[in-house]
């Protein structure tokens, strides 16, 4: 079956096809014996068509699918999912493109899969993102409820991403904030690992349901564990061996990047296990800390990227001062200590003045 499929599609070699399915099976935590099932589902002519919507985004998620990883996997994804509408890669344009969107959702009403890339701006009636004269909000409200399931790819579609970073000028939100009633799964990341997306899709095709998720709607097979708990530098963390700054002795020795701002302890993703680009690397393996791109609001809460914790805004003259949380804490403690000192001094002073009199009354 898969052989036939491969002969029909010269774009993917049989080897690449099997490799992709095996990788997805591994990512999903399935046994080897399940691989033929995945292969069958991926090559089945009855697999659901996919409509891919682009909203407020940089197309980085599509780009990473297309080329950042092993080329076979990129092509495999696009072939497997029988892509009927995808603004970046489709040949059609203009009215033709809109027609194909309309045709697909009419013909496969309730059966197609909708992939959303990018956040949806909601401020001022959603005018900050328009395609074919319709706002992103309108398109999602039209297409979303008619899909069998929605896959939000990337942190933008999942939680708003960089557009939603404070002060969120366009009121950007993720799909789950607008769409109710349709099963939604989030595959966040900036961009997400293609394998996590592939695994989600293959799981749906094979088992006819979305994989189990955590409370943030992310598939557990890919986002069930912290980066920190699978990191190859973790022994250095436990042993207290840290890079104090980039390029120092510790950094050259491959020590833990915690003190130069690694957010692995607060980030859920399979990056250390799946890695990127088919060459077995991921950010931490090449010496840069995780910036926590799979978490909601990471542009706000994970910054500064090279410090451990966010800054605090200390209200004051001129609209607030931003301080390191630790230094703010020290200042407050200092002020408190000074207040205590003054209070005690006043007490002693009063005693000196009123002295014995008071004592006798007691």
């Amino acid at each position: 079956m898969s052989k036939q499929y491969c002969e029909r599609n010269f774009k993917v070699s049989r080897r690449g096809f099997l490799k992709g399915c095996t990788l997805a099976a591994t990512a999903l935590g399935l046994s080897e014996s399940m691989v033929p099932k995945l292969v069958e589902a991926a090559a089945s002519p009855t697999r659901p068509p996919v409509v891919w919507l682009h909203f407020q985004e940089c197309t980085g998620c599509t780009e990473s699918l297309l080329r950042a990883s092993h080329p076979d996997i990129g092509r495999l994804i696009l072939d497997i999912i029988s892509l009927d509408y995808h603004e970046t890669v489709m040949a059609a344009a203009g009215h033709q493109a809109e027609k194909s969107l309309h045709d697909t959702i009419t013909k496969h009403d309730g059966k197609f899969i909708c992939v959303v890339e990018g956040a949806i701006p909601t401020k001022d009636g959603g005018i900050y993102c328009k395609i074919a004269d319709r706002t992103a909000m309108e398109i999602l409200a039209d297409v979303g409820p008619r899909a069998a399931a929605v896959i939000a790819i990337g942190t933008c579609a999942s939680y708003g991403g960089i557009q939603a970073a404070d002060p969120n000028p366009t009121g950007a939100v993720g799909v789950q904030d607008l769409l109710k009633g349709t099963p939604i799964i989030n595959v966040p990341g900036c961009p997400p690992n293609p394998v996590s997306f592939l695994g989600t899709v293959l799981h749906y095709f094979t088992f006819k349901k979305l994989p189990r998720t955590d409370q943030l709607g992310r598939p557990l097979f890919a986002y069930g564990r912290k980066i920190h708990d699978h990191c190859e530098r973790r022994p250095h963390f436990d042993e207290g061996r840290f890079a104090e700054q980039f390029g120092d002795e510790g950094h050259r020795q491959g020590y833990c990047l915690y003190k130069v701002g690694c957010k692995g302890p607060g980030t859920f993703s399979n990056c250390p296990a799946i890695r990127f680009n088919d060459v077995g690397v991921w950010p931490v393996s090449v010496g840069h800390g995780c910036v926590g791109c799979t978490e909601p609001g990471f542009w706000d809460t994970m910054g500064p990227f090279y410090g451990r914790l966010p800054n605090v805004t200390v209200p004051g003259a001129g609209g607030g001062i931003v301080a390191d949380a630790g230094s703010a804490g020290k200042k407050i403690l200092g002020v408190t200590a000074a207040a205590v000192g003054i209070h005690a001094a006043v007490g002693v002073g009063r005693k000196l003045v009123q002295g014995k009199k008071n004592d006798e009354q007691n």
Binding site: D238, P265, A325, L333, V346, N362
Partner: protein, 213 residues
Amino acid sequence: MQYERKYTWSILLRLYHWALALSVLALSVTGFYIHFPWTNTMLEGGSTFPVATMRYIHFIAAFVFTGAVLARLYLLIFGNRQERLWDFLPITPRNIKNFVATLGIYSYLRDSHEERLGHNALAGSAYGLTFLAAAVQVLTGFYMLYPESATWQQIGLFFGPQQTARFIHYLLTWYFMVFALIHIYLCVWNDVMARDGLISSIFNGYKFRQSKS
């Protein structure tokens, strides 16, 4: 002048207090170490395990802290007269009056105040606030300790993702240290001023009051 000895704090309250005090001390020290591990063991091949050990102590102390908070919760409702929350939170006219009066005394504007066996309403309010801070500290802490538990994730997401919870947890640590500083100072101050044996009462449970006669 005659003083009489009055039983004020139950054994459970005193145990709670010292469990809380010692665990806060241990949690602050190890917490700051985890936040910024200041020793950098450049020694490879040895196993000194400093961060793992500090985290271990932190987690044990966290359970002691949680136990203490739960004990206090029980006492807030079922404790003796001085230990119940309506005795010291400014929610009754009597306590609101006491709150204002205590402010006056602490700022040296008044000399005498209503004699109370338990907490004054100002201290009581601070303890109430600290109790809430402790609850947040416990919830964010367990959220970080059990990152793979769906239940803890559900509860923890109230505060935001792990990193936000970590931030709140860190800021509240400073709150506890500021609280400890003021608390110790004011206890000494009261012990000097009021002579009711405030400090020894948290060891033996007895306070002194001037007899009416």
